[in-house]
Symmetry: C2
Subunit: 368 residues, 2 copies
């Protein structure tokens, strides 16, 4: 990968909060990617213990000519620290620096850093500008786009948060070179997701190019990130606050949520749980008579090729009752009813209530 590639720019059409996702290898060193951002006296780079040593100097250098003062906060790494004390470190730094209402926050890292920095930007003085600089595949194709921000509560993940759209998203694909293979696979779960819910042609393309994407081959990687962002941008633009089709983005996530919560956060990566969850949601769709067995098999095969689990945890480790409990307390539940994103064909989804009996059958069939 070189810095010479022409950056792809994907617009997210949200009226006066319209913004652009920049995608290319080497963007941390590309001056054009940092021009035209909100002006301010100060900027703050929020990152974590793993990412900051790798990329914070490069980002600070890119911002030096745009902001008089560029501060830094380094959060502890990991979902376990997506909580109030870590969030408060961002506020402490902003207030100690007397950061004003114009201060721009830069989220440099994966989904946790993006969610926390985004929520801090949403709340600091009731809202300051945010720029997402995602350095994981999962963040580049999913969590950095669309304005969802949150922290966890001991009784539930992402329960406290806000919608706060970034002013820009800058995806430097070169940062993925330092990402462990397991994290690449986890990110691919969200890439694959866009096919079944919205784009059958992209699913076909992935069946041909998945190995190249997984190997971070620049052209394939760029297309995969671009197409993922395009689909997500289209859905977010149509339904910013998740009143309708934005819920499709949760395909595989209700089953996945039960796995993550039930097995203990962190035991399965989010993308791993979503990988297995998509296979389960596809099987549920088949049992509802919506798609055929061949389509389910194609989804399972692609998830497997991404290096992801295709089945849920052993039922002796996480019982059906435990699965159901975690699904009912999920944010997506409504008055305790079980609702799932199901496929009506490859490339089309809908949200629907499902009888508990059918969910139990699906869990029994899809877990060991």
């Amino acid at each position: 990968m070189t810095a010479a590639a022409v950056p792809v720019q994907v617009p997210v059409e949200l009226g006066d909060r319209r913004y652009t996702i920049w995608i290319a290898p080497g963007l941390l060193h590309e001056p054009a990617a940092w021009q035209g951002l909100p002006r301010a006296a100060t900027a703050l780079i929020v990152s974590n213990d793993v990412v900051a040593p790798l990329y914070a100097d490069a980002l600070a250098a890119a911002l030096a000519s745009h902001y008089g003062q560029v501060g830094r906060v380094q959060l502890p790494d990991g979902e376990a620290h997506k909580d109030w004390p870590a969030l408060n470190r961002i506020f402490d730094t902003l207030l100690a620096d007397a950061a004003d209402r114009d201060t721009v926050l830069f989220a440099l890292g994966g989904g946790v850093v993006g969610d926390m920095t985004g929520f801090a930007a949403a709340c600091y003085m009731r809202g300051v500008p945010l720029v997402q600089v995602p350095t994981t595949l999962l963040a580049q194709v999913d969590s950095s786009v669309g304005g969802k921000t949150a922290i966890n509560h001991p009784l539930g993940k992402n329960m406290i948060g806000a919608f706060h759209q970034p002013a820009r998203v800058v995806c430097d694909l070169a940062t993925l070179a330092t990402l462990p293979a397991r994290e690449i696979s986890a990110g691919l779960a969200e890439v694959i997701k866009y096919g079944p819910i919205a784009d059958a042609a992209f699913f076909d393309w992935l069946e041909t190019h998945l190995d190249a994407v997984r190997a971070l081959e620049p052209a394939a990687l760029t297309h995969a990130v671009q197409r993922s962002c395009e689909v997500k941008a289209r859905i977010v633009a149509a339904d910013e606050r998740e009143a309708g089709q934005r819920a499709w983005l949760n395909f595989g996530h209700t089953f996945g949520h039960a796995i993550e919560a039930g097995m203990g956060w962190g035991a399965w990566l989010h993308g791993e749980a979503v990988g297995a969850g998509m296979c389960m949601a596809a099987e549920l769709s088949r049992r509802l008579g919506l798609i055929d067995a061949a389509t389910v098999a194609r989804i399972i095969a692609l998830v497997a090729r991404a290096g992801l689990p295709t089945r849920g945890p052993a039922l002796r480790e996480l019982t059906i009752a435990a699965h159901l409990h975690h699904m009912r307390v999920d944010k997506k539940a409504q008055a305790g009813a079980l609702r799932f994103v199901v496929l009506t064909e490859l490339g089309a989804a809908r949200l629907q209530a499902v009888d508990e009996a059918l969910v139990r059958e699906t869990l029994a069939a899809c877990c060991d």
Copy 2:
């Protein structure tokens, strides 16, 4: 006061987030005031140790026929508890009750309860509906209207918050009968404020009727609350996010902020600090050559008749340097510059940067 008065309804025109402020004595017992609210399986009444024993049963009774489950949270009273641990008690209760995305939060109390419940509603699952039921004069004429919500940070008041408009504001004027006289005076500071910044005729009316309002005479009280809400609603509708004229509502608040922060939060009530702050801001406006001494004298006289201080604290207690320090870290500061809402005439305001020397002179003249 009786429950028979026809409720006044003041609209806040915010497009698809349009809502109505209901104003009358006895609304807690008026079924019409509780019809047409957002539908949900559950509602949660958030109040505090002082207000809940007085009015929570009446509110729960009013809501019983609209929501299947009406929960309650009782927060500790006072600005000192406008913090994360108290906020988290709301989240704890919501999650323990498995409250979903439709749950409606009711803020029953003064400004602290309203700010905290509002911020909880803004953040819980990224936003649930909110109804404000203010029981102090200050909350009825100011803080419950306009969607500003926040908690305090050890390094600054209202530093962490959100804009989250309520679905309705219900001002039962009968609840003011249990309010201490000092709190009535504090609320009158914000009532008086609307005259100098936006409505000279209302200022004239207050000069005639202030004693009746202070005595909670129903017709005068209703008009004072109604006109205050009308002015605030007009300003908020024109500038929801405080990009321009909404800043006028901070008339007297920059000086007042320095008093509150400098004397220790709670030593002066917010309204008391704003009362003195308005006299200081009027004097600053005069020294800028914008208004005459007679106008300053009228403002000082009305603030005094409301039972509020008209001068700042003794400079030996809070030095000019300390005043300036607290003004510079106020949210309204920008890149460290001192900015004030000043009057260009009685009934018209603007925000402008002011030289430190003139601020020093004003402080010297207006503090003992």
